[in-house]
Amino acid sequence: MNPLSYAYLIPLLPALGFLLNMLFGYRLGKRGGAYLSVGLLLTSTLLATALLLQVRQAAPVWDKAAVFEVLEAEEALPPLEEVLSEAKAMGASRERVEALEAEIALAEEKLTELEHEALIREPAADFPFSSETPWITIAGEQGIPFGFLLDPFAALMVFMVSLVSLLIHLFSVEYMAGEERYPTFFAYISLFAAAMLGMVMSRNLFLLLLFWELMGVMSYLLIGFFYKKVSAQQAMKKAFLVTKLADLGLLVGIFWIYRAFGTLDLLAIGELAPGLLAGSAGVATGIGLLLFLGAMGKSAQFPLHVWLLDAMEGPTPVSAMIHAATMVAAGVYLMARAYPILEMGNALPLIAWVGGLTALFAAALAPAFADIKKILAWSTVSQLGFMFLGLGAFGWIAAIFHLVAHAFFKSLLFLGSGSMIHGSGTQDIFAMNQLKKYMPSTRWTFIIGGLSLAGVFPFAGFWSKDEILLAVKNALSVNGGYGLLLLIGYAASFLTALYISRTYLIAFEQAKRPSPWQAAKWNQGGLGVLNMSAEDLAQDAEYDHHDTHDTPHESGWHITTALWVLAISATVFGIIGSPFTGNALQGFVYRGIVPELEPLSAQWLGFIVSTLVALSGITLAYLLYGNARLKLQAPQLLTQLLQQRFYLDQAYYFFAAGPLTRLAKPLAWFDRRIIDALVDFLAWLVAIVGDALRRVQTGRLEHYAWTMAAAAVVLLLALSFGGQL
C-alpha cells in the first residue's frame, strides 16, 4: 500500500479533533473530548509509525564502509581537475592533457562503480513518495498544486511530531484537569499539532506557509490561554508580533523563490537549485537570509528570541508543545528544507554565527533564573542556537538529528517540570522541597532528560550535539572563523551542563528555602519585559495565587506514562545516529548521491572532549549547589543584568514604543486633518454623484427606452466609424 493513501489522515485526524472538541467538547463529559483527542492522535502516531517504516522500506540502503570509499574517491576528483585546468592554462603538451583527462575519466568511472557497489538496496520506484493535485491553477503559469512530500526527512519529522504531541496530549489529560476551558484547550492543541504535521508533509512552500501561519495563530491562542491574566495577554501579543514581523521576511523570500524558480515545489526546487543558482550566489544569499529571518522569528534566535520566554505564560503542555515538537522546530525544518538554496549562497556563516551566539548567550542566562519554566525556555533558545550552528556549519543532518533528539528530551524536561509544578504547586525551584522523596518517576525521568540535555554518553543529546560540533570542526577547512564557533559551542555545552544540574540539584535534592530572587525588586517577569504597569502585576498576582504544597505528591499515571515513554525515547533515539548502528539516521536522511558519513576515527576525539566538558559542568554545579563546597556569590549587578535579559526587551519597548509614539502624534494629526478630510471629501463626492445618478433612474419606461436606443445608436456610430478606420 502506498503511504500516500493514508498519509493525509495524519494531520487530518488531529484537525478533526479540533473540530469535534470545538463543536461538542463540552457535551462529551468531563474528559470525553480529551480522550477523543488522544485517541485521534494515537491513530495518527500509529499511521506515522507505519509511514516511517514504509519510507524506510522504500529508501535506498548503503554499505557504510563502501560509502567512505566513495567519499574518498569523490574528494580525489577536484584536485585532479585543478591540475588539468592548470595544465591547460600553462599550455602543456597534448599528450599530457590527454593523459590527465584519461585519469579523470578513470577516476569518475571508478567512482560510479563504487557508488554502485555501495548501494546495497535500490530505492523503490516511487521513492520519495509525493502527491500532487491541482489546487490553485492559473492559466499560463505553473500555479500552486496541493501535495504531500513524504521523503525520509518528512517521515522522520512526522513520526517525531505525532509521538511527542501524543504524549503531551496524554500528559494534559491529567495536568489540565479542572480547567474551565478544558475542551477548548484540547481543541487548540490538537489543531496546533495538526498544523505542524501538515507543515512537515507539505510539498510546496505555499502550503507550508499556510500551515506555518496556522501554527502562529494557534500559538497565539494557546499562549494566551489564561487570557484573564494581563501578562498572558501581553505575552500572546508579543509572540504574535515578533513572529509576524519575521514572517514578513519569509513571505518575501517565498515570493522571491517563485520569481527565481517559477515554482514553489520543494522537490523541483531541490533539483533546480544547483543549476539555476550556480552563477548567482547573490540571489541564493538573499533568499537564504529572508527565509532565515522567518526562521529566526519562529525558532527564537537572537535578537528575535524575546517572545519565547514570555510564551511561558501559556500552560506547561503548551510550552512543551512549542518548545519541542512544533513551533520552534518549524524554523529549523524550514531551513533544512531550503538547504539546496542555502548552500548555493553565502548566508551560512551568518546563520552559524547567529546560532552560536544565541546558544552561548541563552545558556549563560539560564543559571540566573529560578522559575523552572524560564530556565527550560532559555535552554530551548540555546539548543536551537546549536541547531542553527549546525545548519550554518554545513551539517544540516546534524541539525535535524539534534532537532529530533531535542524534541524528545526537551518535551521530557518540560513535562517533568509540569509534573513538578503540579506536585509542588510552585514554579520556583527554591520553593520546591526535596522532590526526590515524593516524586520518584518524575525524578528519574528528569535525570534522564537532564543528562541528555547536558550531552552525557549514551543519551540522545550526546550523539546529536557531537554531530553538530563535528560539523563545525569540519567547517574549519572552509573558514577559519568556525574555530571560534567551536569554542563557543563547547562553552555553551559547559554552561548547559551547569544550569541543568543546578536545576535538578536545587529542585530535587535541596530542602525548601527562601528564594533569593523573591527579595530582589527586579524579580521574575515583570514590568519591563512585558511592558506591564504595576496594577497589572497586582491583578495577575491575585489571579494566580495558589498554595504551594509543602509535601509534594507524585503525579498520576497519565503524566508518568508520558514521562517514561519520552525518557525511553530520549535514551534510545540517539543510538540510531551513533556509529554503533553505522550512523543509520544519517544514511536514511540525506541529500545528494551518497550519504556523507564520518568514520569513527574522526569522531572519538570529539566524544571524549564533550564528555569531559559536560562532566566538568555537572561537577561545578554539584560543588556550587549540591554540597555547597564552593561559595560563589555573583555580583548583584551581573545577576540583575542577566535577570533582565540584558535589558533587551526594555530596549525594544523603548526604541519601538517611545519614538514611534512621538512620531505618531504629528502623523496622527496629519492623518486626521488632511488624509481623513481628503477621504471624507472623496466619499462625499462619491455620495453626491451616486445620488445624482440615482435620480437619473426616473422610473419612466419611455426614458429608459430613449436611453437604450440612443446608447445603441452611439455604439453603432462609434463602432462603425471606429471599425472602418
Partner: protein, 204 residues
C-alpha cells in the same frame, strides 16, 4: 433604361407603399386605423418577399404578420379601450426622431459597396428546398422530388424543436398573466400573494 425594368418598378412601388403605411402605423392617433395600416404594410412586404423569390415566406407573412397579428392587436386595442392614443407629445416625437434619424444615417452608410449582384441573378427558393432546410441536419444529403440531391446548408431541425418550447412558454405565460380570475387563488383564499412588494407600496 434598366432602372425601370418591371421588377425595379415593382420594388419602388411596393416599398413606397410599405413605408407610407408604416409611417401611418406609428403616427396615427386612432389605433384601430394604425393596426389596419400595419396590416396593409405587412401585406405589401409580402410582395417584397415574393419579388425576392421566397414565396413561402411571403405566404407566411400574409397569414401571420399581415393577418393574425393585426387582428389580435385590434382586439386588444378594443379590450383596453384605447382606440385613441393620447396624442402627440412633441417631446416624445422629438426624442424619437433624434434617435431614429442618426440610426438611419448610420445604417445607410454601411451598405456593401459596390453591390454588383442583381436580383435577376439569384435563384428563387422552392418550398421543398425550404422544407428540407427547416427539417434536417446541417450537411445531410437529401434527394429532392425532382431527383436532384442537395446538401443541406443550415438544417434547423433543432431550432425548430426548441421553437415549440418557446411557443409553449408564450402560451402558458399568456394564461398565467391574463386569465381573468385565478382558480387557484380562489381555492386558497387564505394566502394573499399581494404581500410581496407591500413595503414599497407607499408610491415612493
Amino acid at each position: 433604361m434598366e432602372a425601370f425594368a418591371p421588377n425595379v418598378l415593382a420594388f419602388y412601388l411596393i416599398s413606397a407603399v410599405a413605408i407610407i403605411l408604416a409611417i401611418l402605423a406609428v403616427t396615427t392617433a386612432n389605433l384601430v386605423r394604425a393596426a389596419l395600416a400595419l396590416a396593409f404594410g405587412f401585406f405589401s412586404l409580402a410582395g417584397i418577399f415574393w419579388l425576392l423569390g421566397s414565396p413561402f415566406v411571403a405566404v407566411l407573412q400574409l397569414v401571420v404578420n399581415a393577418g393574425a397579428i393585426p387582428i389580435v392587436t385590434i382586439f386588444i386595442v378594443m379590450m383596453t379601450q384605447s382606440r385613441f392614443s393620447q396624442l402627440r407629445n412633441p417631446l416624445f416625437a422629438a426624442v424619437a426622431l433624434l434617435v431614429a434619424i442618426p440610426l438611419l444615417i448610420a445604417a445607410f452608410s454601411f451598405f456593401p459597396s459596390p453591390a454588383t449582384t442583381a436580383l435577376t441573378q439569384t435563384t428563387p427558393l422552392t418550398v421543398e428546398a425550404l422544407g428540407v432546410e427547416l427539417l434536417s441536419q446541417r450537411g445531410a444529403e437529401v434527394t429532392l422530388s425532382s431527383g436532384e440531391t442537395m446538401t443541406v446548408q443550415a438544417g434547423t431541425i433543432l431550432a425548430f424543436e426548441v421553437t415549440a418550447i418557446i411557443l409553449l412558454v408564450a402560451f402558458v405565460g399568456s394564461i398565467i398573466l391574463a386569465r381573468r380570475e385565478s382558480l387557484i387563488l380562489k381555492l386558497e383564499s387564505g394566502s394573499k400573494p399581494a404581500a410581496e412588494g407591500k413595503a414599497a407600496d407607499a408610491d415612493a
